[in-house]
């Protein structure tokens, strides 16, 4: 029995290798994905946000303010427009993302303790830029207000210590846990590469049944009297081993070469990926059992696989999606996988906590394989 299973598995490996497109997709797809994404996010941290300062006052006080803004975290002053219109144009064209307008008579108003307003503009069309630019602006704004407030109080005859105390209510220190440098590459590169990997695996899994029933060899199998269960298990095992084999170089590059974070042990990560590969294979098998030819099987599989990353809540949080969509998302193995790899890469919550994720994969695989078996039994 074992030799028969091994023979079928060997045949499956040979079939995957012989299918040139599939071979290239599996061998190079995830690796190429990892390299492209690592290259794209090679800056890693969003610093040096292009900022313009329109100093309409050109006084000593305004020069001091420019100096302060220049020192602000994450902002890089790339332009000094002469007028508000020029600044507006720079933001419109996307040359700069943030702008500061220091009004006319700024220095004079400050020295006379008259009210003055510094305008800070942020281009909100790209949220990654906008949230970071706004945070930087908020920090600058806080420092400026405090400095000016203390000066004004002192000018009104309040003791310097008391004036300072008014603006030193509480010091707030911020800490980003799990990813202290807010490294964007750490956040997305591995997940995006594994997203390509899961798409490549789906394309392969979509051939499990339709690849056989659509071919003349199916009649040979039928006439040989090989048990369908044995045939299916052997084929599936060969495919899942292939999935893991193509994932290993991706893991090696990601963790050993690119030094992407992995807080948990590699064994847990590997087993977690293996459990996912099995669940994913079951979904691909289901698509394969419904379809009547390989092209349609690929279409069915990819209709699910393509939006799954977005719906998984890896980037935009699942909690912020409507309830019905959260339920649909939880039916997909991708949701559990991408949520899980985030936990494993950054937090390592332990085996006990991750057991629910393994259970989800088990249930998905059991349901999809059973339904596929029923469909195949009815068709053939």
């Amino acid at each position: 029995m074992l030799s028969q299973c091994l023979a079928i598995a060997r045949r499956e490996f040979f079939f995957i290798w012989r299918d040139k497109d599939l071979r290239y997709i599996l061998l190079f797809g995830p690796l190429l994905g990892l390299l492209i994404f690592y290259g794209t996010y090679s800056h890693q941290v969003l610093k040096d946000i292009p900022t313009a300062i329109a100093d309409l006052d050109r006084s000593r006080a305004s020069q001091e303010l420019v100096k302060n803004i220049r020192g602000a975290e994450n902002l890089k002053i790339t332009a000094y427009p002469e007028s508000y219109d020029e600044l507006e144009d720079l933001i419109k064209k996307g040359t700069v993302v943030a702008g500061v307008v220091i009004p006319e008579n700024y220095g004079k108003d400050l020295s006379l303790s008259r009210q003055t307003r510094v305008e800070m503009i942020v281009d909100g069309s790209n949220m990654i830029y906008a949230t970071n630019a706004t945070s930087a602006m908020l920090s600058v704004s806080h420092t400026l207000s405090a400095q000016t407030g203390v000066k004004t109080l002192v000018a009104r005859g309040i003791a310097p210590a008391q004036a300072a105390a008014a603006y030193q209510s509480a010091e707030f220190r911020e800490e980003a846990w799990f990813n202290p440098t807010l490294n964007y590459a750490y956040f997305v590169v591995l997940a995006l590469a594994l997203n390509i990997w899961q798409q490549c695996c789906t394309l392969t899994a979509c051939m499990t049944i339709v690849g056989e029933t659509g071919a003349a060899s199916w009649y040979q199998f039928k006439s040989l009297g090989i048990s369908r269960l044995r045939l299916f298990i052997s084929k599936s095992a060969a495919q899942i081993i292939t999935f893991m084999a193509v994932a290993l170089p991706v893991f090696f590059l990601a963790f050993a070469v690119f030094k992407l974070p992995l807080r948990c042990g590699f064994l847990l990560f590997f087993l977690f990926s293996l459990a996912f590969a099995t669940a994913l294979h079951s979904v691909g098998t289901l698509a394969s059992s419904i379809a009547w030819d390989p092209v349609n099987a690929a279409r069915f599989g990819m209709i699910i696989a393509l939006p799954s990353f977005l719906v998984s809540g890896y980037t935009y949080p699942l909690e912020s999606m409507p309830g019905c969509l959260q339920i649909i998302a939880k039916i997909l193995p991708q949701t559990w996988y991408f949520q899980g790899i985030n936990l494993l890469a950054f937090k390592d919550p332990g085996w006990a906590f991750m057991s629910q994720y393994f259970l989800a994969f088990l249930i998905i695989a059991a349901v999809c394989y059973t339904v596929s078996a029923v469909i195949v039994a009815r068709r053939t």
Binding site: I25, N126, S145, W177, Y314, Y316
Partner: protein
């Protein structure tokens, strides 16, 4: 003209006969638009689970907590009250942010002993991370202003004087184009353009492979029709459905997702027209070169994520290496996504969009030339013989 329409009719019959293709062209784009619209329907991150570990229990610490409670962005999780629980909650993603007020905080603050409140946030998901950081800074600024105001009142200053001092230098942060920081406005346009890209490319890429698989392509090759007529006749249904989907999805998201859309309708139509021409032509060219429908389907399906990521639509182009930017500039999606955002969100005119219009026009001409340049030469008999036997 009649010949072109005959081929168009023939191709349309094929679309209607292939049920899955029919669904792919007429139903899947809308389904994806619905899904993506639903994903970003809330648009703004609110109700962020936050834990407060108050080790001081003073009036000042309660004031700090109140500031976070009053923020519509945070939702305080009551049962996490110690630092170990905070750590565990963060590790299991039950909470995404925390505030730790140290012991003797109020006393040390009074004596200017240099005490500080720790604010922590989850950096493992930077959508959470960036937003929490911004929201925390807003709360902190508000708290400090409130505290400065009460301190000055304690010094005997009148309300008017306090307001004057606080407003001596006011800084107003004005967020243009997306003042509510809505993820819907940020992401949805790009995703819709990607859906159009993939559906158009996939459907057009099967037009010749299908003929090859049925051994019918030879009929086209041996017919006296020029290559451009074959291309036009076979592509016309995909071009029409592609443009129809473009208009439909824009209408759908503006009508049902309540996304902000501004700008010139003419410019949108022009970009849509160029975009569909370049993709359909590229799809036809791929179909000419592909061995079979399965090959075309497999490779095209895998393009979606890399296209979106390298385009600079999400992660800014200024922070992407030049060689990737150069590569991305050869892809129509890169231009279209940015161009459409500039019209719909920024309301830019034709002047600012000239580079986008030029790039898409150039790509359209190149793609059409490639698509119509196939040789109407049949394989040599020996080659056909070898292929078949």
């Amino acid at each position: 003209m009649k010949q072109i329409l005959y081929i168009t009719y023939y191709e349309t019959i094929h679309i209607f006969k292939d049920k899955i293709l029919l669904v792919l062209i007429f139903f899947v784009p809308l389904l994806y638009a619905f899904f993506f619209g639903a994903v970003y329907s809330q648009g703004i991150l609110t109700g962020i689970p936050l834990a407060v570990v108050d080790l001081d229990h003073s009036a000042l610490s309660r004031e700090v907590i109140k500031s976070f409670e009053n923020s519509p962005r945070f939702s305080i999780v009551q049962d996490i009250t110690t630092y170990p629980l905070l750590e565990e909650g963060m590790r299991k993603s039950v909470i995404r942010a925390g505030v730790v007020i140290p012991e003797n905080f109020a006393r040390d603050a009074d004596l200017n002993r240099g005490t500080e409140i720790l604010t922590v946030y989850d950096g493992s998901n930077l959508i959470w991370g960036y937003n929490i950081r911004k929201y925390t800074l807003e709360v902190v600024n508000q708290f400090n202003t409130g505290h400065a105001s009460s301190y000055m009142a304690g010094l005997g200053l009148t309300k008017k004087e306090i307001t004057n001092i606080l407003d001596t230098l006011s800084t107003n942060i004005d967020v243009w184009y997306n003042p509510t920081f809505s993820y819907t406005s940020y992401m949805l346009y790009g995703l819709i353009m990607l859906v159009i890209h993939q559906i158009c490319l996939l459907s057009a890429s099967l037009t010749v492979t299908r003929e090859k698989e049925k051994n019918c392509w030879i009929q086209f090759l041996s017919s006296p029709l020029p290559a451009w007529k074959i291309f036009l006749g076979k592509s016309l249904p995909y071009f029409l459905t592609g443009f129809f989907n473009y208009v439909l999805l824009i209408w759908f998201i503006t009508r049902f997702v309540q996304i902000k859309i501004e700008g010139s309708v003419f410019l949108m139509a022009l970009l849509g027209l160029l975009y569909t021409v370049v993709i359909i032509s590229a799809g036809f060219y791929i179909s000419l070169k592909a061995k079979n429908s399965l090959q075309a389907t497999r490779f095209i399906m895998l393009l979606s994520v890399p296209l979106l990521m390298v385009s600079g639509y999400t992660w800014p182009q200024t922070h992407i290496p030049a060689f990737i930017n150069n590569f991305a500039s050869l892809i129509p999606f890169t231009w279209m996504a940015e161009g459409f955002r500039n019209i719909a969100v920024k309301d830019l005119g034709a002047g600012c969009l000239t580079p986008v219009i030029l790039a898409l026009s150039l790509m359209s001409i190149t793609a059409v030339l490639l698509a119509v340049s196939f040789a109407k030469r049949k394989n040599r008999p020996m080659k056909i013989f070898n292929d078949h036997f």
